[in-house]
Symmetry: C2
Subunit: 413 residues, 2 copies
């Protein structure tokens, strides 16, 4: 990521977390929804009402917590907290599921002494089973005492939102706005069911910037389209995806609007946070051993480039070849060709890392040993130039491995 | 299949093959495109000009043989033969690839003493490498001598079109038309890259029915939409897919048109042949251990049902659960919900075999042991009823296994 940061109007905070922005506490614990002692309940709390924004799954079946969170953010665009459980998605759980989501919201609101509509809730895990509310209630009552503004609290939260994820995903950047230091941080969980349009993906952004809820919503939507909606693990989109942002305003900058001179800088910082999390989710896809990044340029539009990039990065054959370190550009071109987008079949260039494999749609002889060495690495870059117009897009995914099958063949058992 | 045949206007010919319809010979041999001694060149020849029809991949990148075959069938709607090689797809091979496909056509036409535009050519295998034409030429010259009208010749052809397929796929049915016995037979290869809109799938239908090329084209197109285009192995669509039908007319029935009283019976026979082949391809998908059949009813239209059925059967999570014998209806509903089709989230029923798992979108308690027993079988039926209108469709696929990954991680090497 080093190179990309050189011209960025923000700096990475090496030991930063979601509690680095002023005003936020976080925590997590084991309440009993997961069979092991792994954490399964966590929360982020803001000490002042935070401007809030949310982006949700496009799946027809939306889990109960999404309805509740929409209502909370919709009430006045402000949040004081977000409560998350893992181990159970509270999806396809009917009226009881809805009642449970509302009860979670109300009970946690009471525990931290705020009104219910200032709390968002999110769930991830198995679909179609009702929550064991006795465990959840007990957890909610114990949670506030352990929350704090340190990196430890943030770590506990990150652990509590994981399901089959292997590693925690967190990032924090800072930038100067009106002479004040503003932080933007984020945490996420992903793994399976990751696909454009939000997947079993939960993301949480905290910032101490002063910005209104509507402005934040616009920026979050745009950042999502270029980051979280550009990753795919297996083409499945979950019932529970949600990205929530909270801005405490405590940094004391002038309120950010599109007229603010550093509006673009703040947007870049937010987008960077989302991109780091999105790539981390892709890299940590179920069973994945490497990150695959596909850049398409020369398409008739950015949307067209986006569709082609996502089709390539989502192809099971391309993903298997990535796992096998096979420079199989034939599968790349075949995937591009079925994306349903305009392509001139005679003008396509493809490179895998620095290795040019196709020029003007004709194979280029390359050193298979060099390609193999490159493909054995933990990040694979695929470049496709269609030479038609200026449309470009980047998508991220991972390889398809034995472990993906193992994990998903036995998820419930 | 037993039950389905009871009311069918045709009978299965137990030992039938693509050479059972009158007028057809077939054969295959090893010419050297595959590394082992497996057959890699085959042909079907008709002793009279046969009315012909073709359906082709929708991939933007179409392999050279498709261009040549389109020309042959387009010339006068008649064919005398189709020549097929495996081991090399002759795709993304530029001008040389086109020249090679034309040369294959011309050389085989000469070898069997017909004009070049009466020969179709098809290829399957690795993309982006030019054919070793010395091997192909030698094979073409030797091929006609070994062709015959027996089941052996048909078997040799079936072997010659396989790539990573494990089993040959062939079927033959007969029906009475105007007091004459008419046969409809087919052979196919599939395996990876199988997805709606034709995949690395080659299909060949022979019949001795008397029918014009245009009428045959219409029937073949319709049958394809309901069968070959309803299967998916991994969501990838190949550059080389092709389905070619030849009708010798030697059965002596009155010419089949939509006015013929047995038009529907013939269509049913043709569709059955395509369905048997399509299901065989799905069952023999790369690494597959079982066939998954998804029936969707109660959708707003057949097209909508079709999109939902294909999304479910193509879901990596559903496919992994099928492999793991996991009655994970949550993944089925999540897949349905992202198909982009109208669904009432409160009225969905789902059954896996006889086991009802969801009624009116609410989980039903079922015996996990019974479900496990059922899911261990070699065919899994998934039923989804949306209770919205009368749209229905059936799609077929297979499970996602360790072997799929193994096969595709190392295909070129």
């Amino acid at each position: 990521m080093g190179q990309e940061q050189i011209h960025q109007p923000f700096q990475l905070v090496a030991d930063g977390s979601i509690t680095t922005p002023q005003g936020f506490r976080a925590g997590g614990l084991h309440c009993g929804l997961k069979k092991t002692t792994r954490y399964d309940l966590g929360a982020i709390v803001c000490e002042v009402p935070a401007a809030a924004a949310g982006v949700y799954t496009t799946n027809v079946f939306q889990a109960a917590p999404l309805k509740v969170t929409r209502e909370s953010i919709g009430a006045d665009g402000m949040l004081r907290a977000v409560l998350v459980n893992s181990g159970n998605a509270n999806a396809c759980t009917g009226k009881q599921g809805e009642a449970d989501a509302y009860e979670m919201r109300a009970r946690f609101a009471e525990a931290i002494s705020v009104s219910a509509d200032q709390v968002a809730v999110a769930s991830t895990g198995v679909i179609g089973e009702n929550l064991r509310m006795d465990k959840v209630r007990d957890g909610i009552d114990r949670l506030p005492a352990g929350m704090n503004a340190t990196a430890e609290g943030a770590d506990d939260f990150c652990q509590a939102i994981l399901t089959t994820d292997l590693v925690q995903k967190m990032v924090c950047v800072k930038l100067e706005l009106d002479g004040r230091t503003v932080h933007v941080a984020g945490a996420a969980k992903g793994s399976g069911m990751i696909h454009p349009n939000m997947a079993t993906m939960l993301g949480f952004v905290t910032t101490d910037a002063c910005i209104g809820g509507e402005a934040l919503q616009g920026l979050l939507r745009r950042a999502t389209d270029l980051t979280f909606n550009m990753i795919t693990v297996d083409g499945d989109t979950s019932t529970n995806d949600m990205l929530v942002a909270m801005a405490s305003g405590l940094a004391g900058n002038d309120e950010l609007t599109s007229e603010h001179k550093d509006w673009a800088a703040f947007e870049a910082a937010l987008r960077y946070v989302c991109e780091v999390l999105a790539k981390a989710i892709a890299r940590d896809g179920e069973g994945a051993t490497k990150l695959v990044e596909v850049k398409v340029r020369g398409a008739v539009s950015d949307e067209s480039a986006s569709a082609i990039a996502k089709t390539i990065v989502g192809s099971s054959l391309v993903k298997s070849a990535a796992f096998g370190a096979d420079a199989n550009w034939g599968r790349i071109i075949a995937a591009a060709g079925r994306a349903g987008e305009p392509i001139n079949p005679d003008t396509v260039d493809i490179a895998i890392g620095d290795i040019v494999t196709l020029t003007q749609s004709r194979p280029v002889v390359f050193d298979e040993e060099v390609a193999l060495e490159y493909l054995k690495g933990d990040t694979i870059h695929i470049y496709v130039d269609l030479h038609m117009a200026d449309g470009e897009a980047t998508a991220w995914g991972c390889d398809l491995t034995y472990d993906y099958v193992r994990i998903n063949a036995a998820y419930r058992t």
